[in-house]
């Protein structure tokens, strides 16, 4: 595996009881990036993470994490990875401090206690409260702290902001960005597209166990279909926007109002409109969610 890759899977395949969760997954995550991993429930996101941590063994294929074979040398992987599971369950009768102490002991005390305390303070979490008395959001905060407190080289976060209020969600996004700035690679699964769009450098979309798209987040969004509404000052010919590259006329209410769909760059449309008497122009900014939904609404064909 090249040094620049934090995660690399080759042909990763995993079936459970007749259901194929991963089908030849080929994934590359670069060191130091925030990689958003998108897909609906059952697409294979959690299965991928669990293969990377050797909690499950793939039927075929290989997975390398930070240069270590995930199946041959899982302890080396686990020592360098911080993991937040999608479904977090902790021992209810312990306090947050006690469970973090246990996790620290499992890491042979390779944990800076001050880091854990400062994260708890930042997330406004009382570590002395028994876990059974904590809300789902506060339990999630303990999960985040245990994933971060040993300053891992790679963070595997499965729905990290699930159950958190918007203010804490923003704080978590800030922590993730700071981790990246400190050199940590972040592998980030989320259903909250705006969140992935806000933090991820690159995005991978998984569908039925296969990676169907990997791209820079901005490029992926820019590649998406936009809807543009134009009102002209005077009547314009019906074919004024015909043949413009990437433009499809959707509706033409009258000779002054037209709605078009633009695939890819806006440049050709803007140049075409420059020659026309435009009174009003409205562009809907596409979101990652639009891109994602396009993958799932179309039959596996990339949008844009």
């Amino acid at each position: 595996m090249p040094d620049s890759l934090a995660i690399q899977t080759r042909g990763l395949t995993k079936s459970y009881a007749g259901v194929t969760a991963l089908r030849g997954l080929d994934l590359k995550v670069r060191q130091g990036e925030i990689f958003g991993f998108l897909g609906p429930n059952g697409a294979g996101k959690t299965t991928t993470i669990r293969c990377l941590l050797d909690q499950i063994r793939p039927d075929h294929g290989t997975a390398s994490v930070l240069g270590f074979d995930a199946q041959q040398d899982p302890v080396s992987v686990q020592a360098r990875v911080g993991y937040l599971p999608g479904e977090l369950h902790l021992e209810d009768n312990l306090s947050g401090r006690r469970i973090l102490r246990y996790f620290s002991a499992l890491r042979r005390r390779a944990v800076d206690r001050a880091t854990a305390n400062s994260l708890a303070e930042r997330l406004r979490l009382d570590l002395d409260t028994p876990i059974k008395n904590l809300s789902k959001g506060n339990k999630q905060k303990i999960g985040l702290i245990q994933a971060l407190m040993h300053r891992p080289d790679l963070l595997l976060l499965d729905e990290p902001t699930s159950g958190l209020d918007p203010l804490v969600q923003q704080e978590v996004q800030a922590i993730v960005r700071e981790a990246k700035a400190a050199g940590t690679t972040v592998f980030f699964c989320s259903h909250v597209m705006s969140e992935v769009e806000a933090v991820a450098d690159r995005v991978g979309i998984i569908r039925e166990g296969r990676l169907v798209e990997v791209a820079d987040t901005a490029a992926l969004v820019n590649r998406a279909v936009r809807h543009v509404t134009v009102r002209f000052q005077t009547d314009v010919p019906a074919d004024a926007l015909e043949g413009v590259r990437g433009v499809t006329v959707l509706t033409r209410a009258d000779s002054r109002n037209v709605s078009v769909q633009v695939e890819g760059e806006m440049d050709a449309l803007v140049k075409a409109l420059a020659a026309l008497p435009v009174a009003f122009l409205k562009t809907n900014q596409p979101t990652l969610e639009d891109v994602f939904l396009a993958y799932y609404q179309s039959d596996n064909s990339p949008p844009g």
């Binding site: 259901v19 089908r23 909690q55 499950i56 063994r57 899982p74 002991a105």
Partner: protein, 281 residues
Amino acid sequence: MRAVFLHTLRRFRGSIPAWGLSLAALGLIVVPFYDVYLAQEEQMLQFIENYPPEFLAFFGGMAAINTPAGFLDSQLATLPVIFGIFAVLAGSALFARDEESGRLDLIMAHPVSRLLLFGGRFAAFVFATTGILLICWLGFALPLRGSSMDVGMWQMALPMLSTLAVVLVFGTFALLLSMLLPSRRTAAATAGGVMVASFFLSGFANLNADLKPVARLLPYEYFQGGYAISGLNLTWFAGLLAASTFFAAIAGWRFQHRDIRVGGERSHRFSRPSRPRHPQP
């Protein structure tokens, strides 16, 4: 492994005194009762003779009940089954409880090999089981000083060792089943069923010799009970420990090679050959 061992042992902190003191209380009653029995031996023998002969045969005839070994044997007969409940529940829960509640995947994301995780938890289970029997032994040994039962404190440890060997077989069997069967509950129920069947088969084998070969396949047949005070049958003892080691080794091997269930999956299905719904790439 030390962290795993200590943490698991901490989870037994309620069970060890609760089970230990309960079983010790049994000893505090049983040993002084021997003197009461001797003082009223004739009435007691008459009382026992009124039992149906099949019942007496089930418990080995009780011919030697007026001896310390025979008396203790009659009192300790059900100890492996009673204490076996702890062993079966604790053994089946050692991993399956955390796995079914979704806690195991986070623990296993930490840099502890599966072998060390298994070893640490299993060592804590054995330690807890031994600790409970140690407290139980104190309950039987301490009243010996004021008793006419001519048994030394260390002699009294021998029936406890015999009990330990038997319950470890049931506990490790439950642990093994928890690695193979769909749920902890199924594993505990199956191991518990085998334990109870073993007890009854050994008893019924005293009534029907044809059952003896079957009873010999099960652990209770090798429980010496009170007769262990005259000397531990080392072959039986070593055999039971070997069976426990075998079950634990298979369970450990299985743990190292199987998938861990994810939180929320609760129980897994029986593994059976099946075709994937989608073709392989």
